[in-house]
């Protein structure tokens, strides 16, 4: 319909049509302008959201840090928010998060990269796509399901194998985290490996290197920036995971021990938020702020790495 109107008007046959065409054109211009404004607003939405989130976290997180004192808050080893003389030291949370992340990454990165090598270089087409689907399935499983499996299978197993009084500990959390990191490490490093040009590998093979030598001396170094991005992405996810680790780590604000019950930055917020009040509640916002700052740092690193990879 509209198209025929346009065609007629282009020929300029009748003035009535021309009038209508003018109206249509003004309408079109107006809607152009409205939509352009809408798109600009949408475009800036993400910037605005980052600003708003930062503003809310800073404004609700800073008062408690101020009241407790920055040093006592960040480096205090004791967290007793509800006692008579309450202490708000979050060093146990920071260190637990730190250790759990490092350990989970150390476990899952080599496993993930090697599997990515298998998928891209060793598996046939069918097997590769089957494995990729399996990895995607693992990636899509909600974290509470990992937590559920962790509390039913991992925690009792850890207790029996290491003959501990109790199996809910840092170690169990590391195991669950490592499994949860695997899918993203695998898929990101697999796509990094795929971007390495064939010629590099062919050159290496032609020079007499065998296939594993080629992979470890040519392919992987060439995919270095993509793989390091996978590692950093894994770190970010490990630091930020809450529900799954809350279900297996025991949740006591101890200084971290491999087989001791621990609490992380994320689980501190998740476990006490709904019951807290007053300064305790504000201190939990401060914990979230600290977590947010760490995540921003990790994001910046990730950003730097992916940019470097593109150049």
């Amino acid at each position: 319909m509209e198209r025929s109107v346009y065609a007629e008007s282009l020929r300029g046959e009748s003035s009535a049509v021309r009038k209508r065409d003018n109206v249509l054109r003004t309408l079109a211009k107006a809607s152009d302008r409205v939509m352009a404004t809408f798109f600009v607003i949408c475009g800036f939405a993400s910037i605005a959201l980052v600003v708003i989130i930062t503003a809310f976290l800073v404004s609700s997180g800073v008062p408690a840090i101020h009241e407790v004192g920055f040093k006592d808050f960040m480096f205090g080893k004791v967290w007793t928010p509800t006692s008579e003389n309450a202490q708000f030291g979050i060093l146990p949370f920071i260190l637990s998060s730190f250790y759990a992340t490092i350990a989970a990454v150390v476990l899952s990165v080599p496993l993930g990269i090697l599997t990515a090598v298998f998928i891209t270089k060793f598996a046939g087409e069918k097997l590769a796509s089957l494995l990729s689907s399996a990895v995607e399935m693992l990636a899509g499983i909600p974290s509470v399901v990992y937590g559920l499996l962790g509390m039913i299978y991992v925690v009792p197993t850890v207790r029996n194998v290491f003959e501990l009084p109790d199996g809910a500990c840092l170690f169990s959390a590391v195991i669950v985290l490592a499994v949860m990191l695997l899918p993203s490490v695998i898929s990101v490093s697999a796509s990094a490996i795929r971007t390495v040009p064939r010629e590099y590998e062919e050159g290496s093979l032609a020079l007499g290197a065998n296939d594993t030598e080629t992979i470890f001396k040519v392919t992987l170094p060439a995919a270095k920036s993509g793989i390091s991005a996978a590692v950093v992405l894994g770190i970010g996810r490990a630091v930020g995971e809450a529900m799954a680790v809350m279900m297996v780590s025991g949740n006591v604000p101890n200084m971290p021990k491999l087989f001791g019950s621990v609490r992380f930055l994320t689980t501190a917020v998740a476990s006490e938020m709904s019951y807290s009040s007053g300064l305790h509640r504000e201190a939990l916002f401060s914990v979230a702020l600290v977590l947010f700052v760490f995540i921003l740092g990790i994001n910046m690193l990730l950003n730097f790495l992916t940019r470097k990879g593109k150049n």
Partner: protein
């Protein structure tokens, strides 16, 4: 000397190969075990009444209909806001913005959003939507929180598929005298629909699996709401994933928890296939 060296090289390469196969085998076993355990422990507890009733303490029965409905409501509310917003942002980035620095900044902001852990979204959502905006712990507050969380995904996938639309389409439409919005609507967006659908499926997957962001925003109630009630403030409700956590942790009802886990697992697989199908379907057509 030389022979030694080759032998060494061969052993080393054999060992590395073994490591590669071993890793792949571990991942395979892991995937199979996880899926098998969840399905075997979960599927037997799924029944018609389980899917179509709400839990009753008087009768001592459980049902997850409220949670299924809440999940659907939250997906719906989130999507009707985030789809226009995300596509709009992608259009701005790809079709309007000329300042490279500015688009970089927006891209950086989107990346930052996608890196923020869901527990922080939960907290911020509670501060902004539950308290500041006064929606109370409600499905609405939960959905709005998820809008922020899924925005980067929709933006990125939409932008990628907009980029893939040939420049000549745009030039052709403009040359025919169409306005910019008309050109976008009739030529560019239809060609980018596959990326948009992929983004939507990915986001639906993320919403279905989300728990930490919903605890303090959408709450944990097990009530059955009509659409109208669900859309009004103050009505809290738990999605499937949140209720899984509740059944496992708060009540120790693991049969129910595993039944929900099995449903979630099947949904995940279904969504994955959906995304793949969409990509294949559209790449065949063009």
């Amino acid at each position: 000397m030389n022979g030694n060296n080759t032998a060494f090289r061969r052993t080393k390469s054999g060992a590395l190969k073994a490591a590669i196969y071993f890793s792949a085998a571990v991942v395979c076993i892991l995937a199979v075990t996880v899926a098998a355990v969840v399905l075997i422990k979960g599927l037997p507890h799924i029944s018609i009444s389980f899917l179509t009733e709400k839990p009753s303490l008087l009768k001592g029965t459980t049902g997850i209909l409220p949670n299924i409905l809440n999940t659907l409501y939250i997906i719906f509310f989130t999507m009707i806001i985030v789809i226009p917003l995300g596509i709009g942002a992608a259009i701005y980035l790809n079709e309007y913005a000329k300042n490279k620095k500015l688009t970089n900044l927006i891209g950086l902001a989107a990346e930052t959003l996608s890196g923020i852990p869901s527990i922080i979204y939960g907290l911020v959502g509670m501060l902004i939507f539950v308290q500041f905006c006064g929606f109370g712990t409600s499905l609405v507050a939960g959905s709005l929180t998820l809008v922020i969380m899924t925005l980067p995904t929709i933006m990125r996938t939409a932008e990628e598929s907009l980029k893939a639309v040939p420049q000549s389409y745009r030039e052709g439409a403009l040359a025919l005298g169409s306005g910019k919005w008309r050109m976008l609507r009739t030529v560019v967006l239809p060609s980018a629909v596959d990326g948009i659908i992929t983004g939507v499926i990915l986001s639906v997957g993320r919403i279905t699996g989300e728990s930490a962001a919903l605890f303090f925003t959408a709450g944990m109630a097990n009530e059955i709401y009509g659409l109208a009630q669900a859309a009004s403030s103050g009505n809290a409700g738990s999605t499937l994933t949140v209720s899984l956590y509740m059944y496992a942790k708060e009540r120790g009802e693991f049969d129910t928890a595993f039944a929900i886990a099995a449903i979630l697992l099947l949904l995940t697989v279904l969504l994955n296939f959906g995304a793949k199908y969409v990509q294949k379907h559209f790449s065949n057509r063009t």
